[in-house]
């Protein structure tokens, strides 16, 4: 770390004055105005369809200001729309003994920043004392932020995309020193906006270092590069978890999948792409000598990571089973490799359903207060996908009461009743809905409920009594004379 130079000191004084001027103009003064960012490093990872941003902020509270309880982050309106997750940690300690304390982040209800920018506040666990310096690590993920250009490509074209951002950090604070790195999947970068100083090394573009940026400064940049990673977008995912206290948890997942990349144009030439899949009876010679250079941005299969000890897995759609899937399982996890009926090219859709059963004892526990809770993983088991609309329905056994979901993020929640085999009063169902879900959302969550085991016997008893009544009726019929005339 460099010692703050003279110029920064001077500028900080200037900024302080400016800040004072602003605080005068805008009443009431916000305590956070006293915070400034000493150094910021923004690393943007563009290798996958999801934009991942790692932000390291070194913030300092002014010596004269009161204690600060929160640090604000600013996002542009488009970013807010595509923001999937924001996580922040506070780095404590030096070098090797560094520990990260997770902090909670929430959308701030403070008045919006200029140009419709939205503020998010990081709630500090211990307030930032005057003149104290703290390092914050922020991670956020943006979905749907890569725009394919050209928007339509043929089978043999690579997929090029645009990424738009700002060279400097958008922040409500003064940023004394800042640098931005953008990492691309390959060396093939068509173009990028130059905001001096800007440099490119291999697959990385570096913007900065910029000094003394005013609050809310924004310098738009545009990066045009090649991204052939499959843009698998789950437009809608409904996961239904049915709990049976007879020992099974049945999960049914309905996917609406789309290739979110550049639209596929013109011929889908089978003879280039296919041929591989049926080498069992085709002459392989021809196709082994011709590598599959085409359809690079398409995808043929997806990998779903399921819990261990999964059983009775099925994979089907509205018109029947799809016969191409492989299940590999060991004691830690199960991997289900699924192949849609056809390879997905840009803009193509595909819907399917995956279902599987899990042993109950792995997921159902009893809490200290006597309630039961089921511990499940949130999010989507498919790797590297964005879920636009996720609905999780936890169907509790018939007769359970007072359900309560404990989820680490904000989302829509409500209760409904669903009916299944031999249900009379229906099963209480906890519905959780969340938009814009990425892999980072795959964290455990719990649903607590109360359940009296006597209800487990209701359905078997119903069946037994029905069969019994049938036999009684048969006996009664055989022993009765129903004829009208005399015998």
């Amino acid at each position: 770390m460099m010692a703050p130079s003279l110029s920064t000191a001077v500028s900080s004084v200037l900024l302080l004055l400016l800040a004072a001027a602003i605080s005068v103009s805008s009443s009431p003064p916000m305590p956070e105005d006293s915070i400034r960012v000493i150094s910021a490093e923004k690393r943007i990872d563009l290798t996958s369809p999801i934009v991942k941003v790692f932000l390291t902020l070194k913030v300092e509270n002014d010596a004269t200001a009161p204690e600060a309880s929160q640090v604000l982050l600013a996002f542009t309106p488009t970013e807010v729309e595509h923001l999937a997750i924001v996580k922040a940690t506070r780095a404590e300690g030096k070098r090797k003994k560094k520990i990260y304390v997770p902090l909670s982040v929430k959308a701030s209800d403070l008045a919006a920043a200029p140009n419709g920018a939205r503020l998010y506040s990081i709630l500090l666990s211990t307030p930032l004392k005057p003149a104290e310096v703290m390092t914050l690590e922020v991670f956020y993920a943006l979905t749907h932020s890569l725009e394919p250009f050209p928007a339509e490509i043929t089978q043999s074209d690579p997929q090029l995309v645009y990424y738009r951002d700002s060279a400097v950090l958008l922040s409500p604070y003064h940023v004394l020193e800042q640098v931005t790195y953008i990492k691309m999947p390959s060396n093939r970068v068509e173009s990028f906006t130059k905001v001096d100083p800007t440099g490119r090394a291999g697959n990385e573009v570096k913007y900065g270092t910029y000094n003394n940026q005013l609050p809310n400064s924004y310098v738009p940049i545009l990066v045009h590069y090649q991204n052939n990673r499959p843009f698998a977008v789950v437009e809608e995912l409904v996961r239904k978890v049915e709990i049976s206290h007879w020992g099974n948890v049945q999960i049914t997942e309905q996917y609406k999948l789309k290739h979110g990349g550049a639209q596929h144009k013109g011929v889908f030439s089978s003879s280039l792409l296919y041929g591989y899949s049926f080498e069992t009876f085709l002459a392989r010679l021809e196709y082994q000598s011709r590598p599959s250079i085409s359809g690079v941005s398409s995808f043929k299969n997806l990998l779903a990571r399921l819990p261990p000890r999964v059983h009775s897995v099925y994979y089907r759609d509205e018109i029947g089973n799809i016969s191409s899937s492989h299940l590999r399982s060991d004691s830690h996890k199960s991997e289900l490799e699924i192949e849609p009926r056809y390879p997905l090219f840009g803009g193509w859709h595909c819907t399917f359903t995956i279902g599987y059963g899990l042993p109950l004892q792995d997921f159902l526990f009893e809490s200290d207060d006597g309630r039961r809770y089921i511990n499940l993983t949130f999010g989507c088991p498919l790797l590297d996908t964005v879920v636009d609309d996720l609905t999780i329905k936890v169907v509790l056994p018939e007769g359970s009461t007072s359900p309560q979901a404990v989820v680490p993020f904000l989302m829509e929640q409500y209760l409904e009743t669903s009916y299944s085999y031999l249900d009379v009063v229906g099963r209480t169902t906890v519905v959780l809905k969340k938009r814009n879900v990425v892999g980072e959302h795959n964290v455990p969550f719990q649903v607590y409920y109360e359940f009296n085991p006597i209800f487990m016997l209701a359905e078997p008893l119903m069946l037994i009594s029905a069969v019994f009544l049938f036999f009684v009726a048969c006996i009664a019929y055989l022993h009765m004379d129903l004829s009208i005339g005399k015998s």
Partner: protein
């Protein structure tokens, strides 16, 4: 025996549990019947176990689609449904052009299961409808057998029909077709009618009318009933077996059945307006005349007077009848017999007049081998059964004989009608088997008893013992045992054969193809569904798909897209237009396709996999059907010296017609087999003649992984320059 002695040693209250002989017989009968019921259901599940719970073939997909519509929208909407997704741009009045029995049955079953809070999907109900009704048919067969012979014959009939391949072929799980419930309805109607004739009871006649109504609502084969019943009545009249019972049974069944049948829109007033139904009406009037004459005869009580009266009445009746029929036919009120009816009576008719019927393989005349395949030992038992029937002639046996003989004739005319013959053949064979076994067992029993009596009472009844000895032939008992063993051997062979046939021949869904790979593993070709699902997901929802009519139902059901023609071949011209487009040059075809708003063209091609029922093999029928309406298309243009070929020696028109181009587009670049040149067609076994195919008005949109289905997009018209 051991059980009985064990029971004897039990305390008194438990001993009362011992069954009487009659009860034992009942228990045996009921459990045998229950086992047969389960067997009939289970034997049809091969395809579900081997593949999955899915709908098979072509027509069932339409039935499934309509059932879905029915359960989603309710009966009223279903009844008034105008389907825009088929026969574009004509559309189809679905409610008025189908037999709703099957769909209503499945939807009701589904609703019933739902009401019992069993959360099954309607697809599972549809898949299992046919096996369920086949199991019910065994019960009807039992009752029918008991009615015409005895309960033993009924049991044998139930067992035979449970596994009869001729019936299984149309009732495996997933074969969700009208026939699945119709055979049940057919046999039920016949049983109830015979029962009504035997009892003369109005209640049974009523039941028979309702059975007929159900049959009419389920399948066009009801015409068989409405012609067989009057024929049967006529035969009874001629053989002097007229009775009041017959009068009650036929009249009430006919009148009520006719009125009920008119409620089915697809059938409508055909019972009074169509030539095919006139026999029933004629016999109805004949019965009235007969009854009237009988009454007059009784009143007059004078043979001479009655004779002259008979002459006058008969003349009058015949004149009036002929006049009515003549005027009706001439004025067009009574429609003449349809082509389908003619083709039933005359096997050669369809070939000359209706190519669209002749092009379907299940409408071909039956080969001897398929009789053997579908009936096995029943084929030998059938004449024996007829012999037994004639030996003990009654109203009921006359009926089953007539049913057997007529349906056997129809089975010979068309392969698919083996199905109708199957219950009759099973019943008659069951009579043979049951009667034979019964005779043999009585022989064995009497023989084994007589020595006992002789030894027991040393000189008690010598005469009786002598008589028994005299009657019997040498080695009678041994021969009887041998024959019995032979009969059991034959029956067990039958069971083995049926299981084998079911598993090997009739349990393939035909939409998923399975083959053996090089390494012996099972290779599954799921290309049809791949293509249909692609259509469903990746084409505009109003896209129009042109394909040969075979795939129409599947495209609408699985692809959910509009088709030009489908398996309901009601408009020959429309089909011929598609046939014409397929057999024209690309530019001419483009005009036709533009006029029909076609967006995609789908062809089925087996050249890569060796799948032989593809469009190139069906192509000559497209030419024939197209040429039947549009004389521009001439069959000889596609043949070389009367030979159909696709290699270099093929006719130039063949090499450049749309179908050829679409099937073989870019095929010339593909090597399909070792040691063969690229573009080697594995079905025809030749190298194709035109490897350099350029498409001008169409472009390849999708080809499935094994090339079985290829979909082309019709390009929009070019800008005018």
């Amino acid at each position: 025996m051991a059980a009985a002695t064990a029971l004897d040693s039990l305390p008194a209250p438990l001993r009362s549990l011992r069954l009487k002989t009659k009860q034992q017989e009942l228990l045996l009968r009921v459990s045998a019947l229950a086992l047969i019921y389960v067997l009939a259901f289970v034997v049809r599940l091969f395809s579900v176990l081997r593949y999955e719970s899915m709908i098979h073939e072509f027509d069932p997909y339409f039935n499934y689609r309509t059932t879905l519509f029915l359960s989603d929208h309710g009966f009223s909407e279903f009844w008034n449904w105008f389907d825009f997704e088929s026969w574009y741009p004509l559309g189809r009045v679905v409610g008025g052009t189908l037999f709703p029995g099957l769909m209503v049955t499945a939807a009701l079953l589904h609703r019933l299961l739902r009401a019992l809070s069993l959360a099954v999907h309607i697809r599972e109900v549809c898949v299992l409808t046919a096996p369920f009704f086949a199991a019910n048919t065994t019960l009807v067969a039992y009752a029918f057998g008991r009615e015409i012979w005895d309960s033993g014959a009924g049991l044998v009939a139930a067992a035979l029909i449970a596994v009869c391949p001729g019936y299984i072929s149309r009732s495996v799980a997933g074969s969700y077709d009208n026939e699945g419930v119709a055979i049940f309805a057919l046999l039920l109607t016949f049983y109830l009618f015979v029962r009504a004739v035997n009892t003369g009871s109005l209640a049974w006649s009523l039941a028979s009318a309702f059975g007929y109504f159900y049959m009419v609502s389920a399948w066009g084969g009801y015409v068989f009933i409405i012609n067989l019943l009057p024929l049967y009545v006529l035969v009874l009249l001629v053989t002097g077996r007229y009775s009041q019972r017959l009068y009650v049974a036929y009249n009430s069944t006919y009148v009520l059945g006719m009125l009920l049948a008119m409620q089915i829109r697809f059938v409508g007033f055909q019972h009074v307006q169509s030539g095919e139904h006139m026999a029933a009406m004629g016999v109805f009037f004949l019965l009235q005349v007969f009854f009237f004459l009988d009454w007059v005869k009784y009143l007059l009580n004078d043979a001479k007077l009655f004779k002259s009266f008979l002459r006058i009445t008969l003349t009058c009746v015949i004149t009036v009848g002929t006049l009515a029929l003549g005027i009706g036919t001439a004025s067009g009120y009574i429609s003449p017999w349809t082509g389908r009816f003619y083709s039933l009576l005359d096997p050669t008719y369809a070939k000359d007049h209706i190519p669209i019927i002749a092009s379907v393989s299940e409408h071909q005349p039956t080969a001897w081998s398929s009789f053997m395949f579908d009936f096995h030992i029943l084929l030998f038992l059938f004449p024996a059964g007829l012999y037994f029937c004639f030996k003990r002639l009654s109203d009921a046996t006359i009926f089953i004989v007539m049913y057997g003989l007529t349906s056997m004739y129809f089975a010979g005319v068309m392969v698919r009608l083996i199905l109708v013959a199957a219950p009759a053949v099973c019943l008659i064979s069951a009579i043979a088997a049951s009667a034979t076994i019964k005779n043999l067992t009585t022989l064995i029993r009497t023989k084994s008893k007589s020595p006992q009596t002789v030894s027991g009472k040393s000189s008690g009844s010598k005469a009786a013992a002598k008589g028994a000895v005299d009657q019997s032939l040498p080695f009678q008992q041994n021969v009887a045992i041998a024959l019995l063993l032979g009969a059991f051997y034959l029956l067990s062979r039958y069971a083995v054969h049926c299981t084998w046939v079911t598993s090997e021949a009739y349990s393939s869904p035909s939409i998923v193809l399975a083959a053996r790979g090089h390494n012996g593993g099972r290779v599954i070709f799921d290309d049809y569904r791949e293509a249909y699902y692609w259509l469903r997901q990746n084409t505009p929802s109003d896209a129009k798909i042109m394909s040969w009519w075979d795939y129409g139902y599947q495209i609408t059901a699985m692809g959910n897209r509009t088709v030009i023609v489908d398996n309901n071949t009601w408009n020959n011209t429309h089909i011929a237009t598609v046939g014409r487009a397929m057999s024209s040059y690309e530019d001419e075809a483009y005009e036709i396709m533009q006029s029909l708003d076609v967006n995609y063209v789908l062809v089925v091609f087996g050249g890569v996999t060796g799948y032989s029922s593809d469009d190139i093999n069906k192509f000559l029928w497209m030419v024939r059907i197209g040429g039947g309406v549009f004389p521009v298309i001439k069959e000889p243009d596609y043949l070389v010296n009367g030979e159909y070929r696709v290699d270099k020696g093929a006719a130039p028109k063949m090499l450049n017609c749309l179908m050829y181009k679409l099937c073989y587009y870019r095929f010339g670049e593909l090597t399909t087999e070792y040691g063969k040149p690229p573009g080697y067609d594995r079905v025809r076994g030749v190298e194709i003649g035109n490897k350099d195919i350029k498409l001008e008005y169409l472009e390849e949109a999708f080809t499935t992984s094994n090339w079985i289905v290829r979909i082309y997009k019709v390009k929009p018209p070019k800008n005018r320059s």
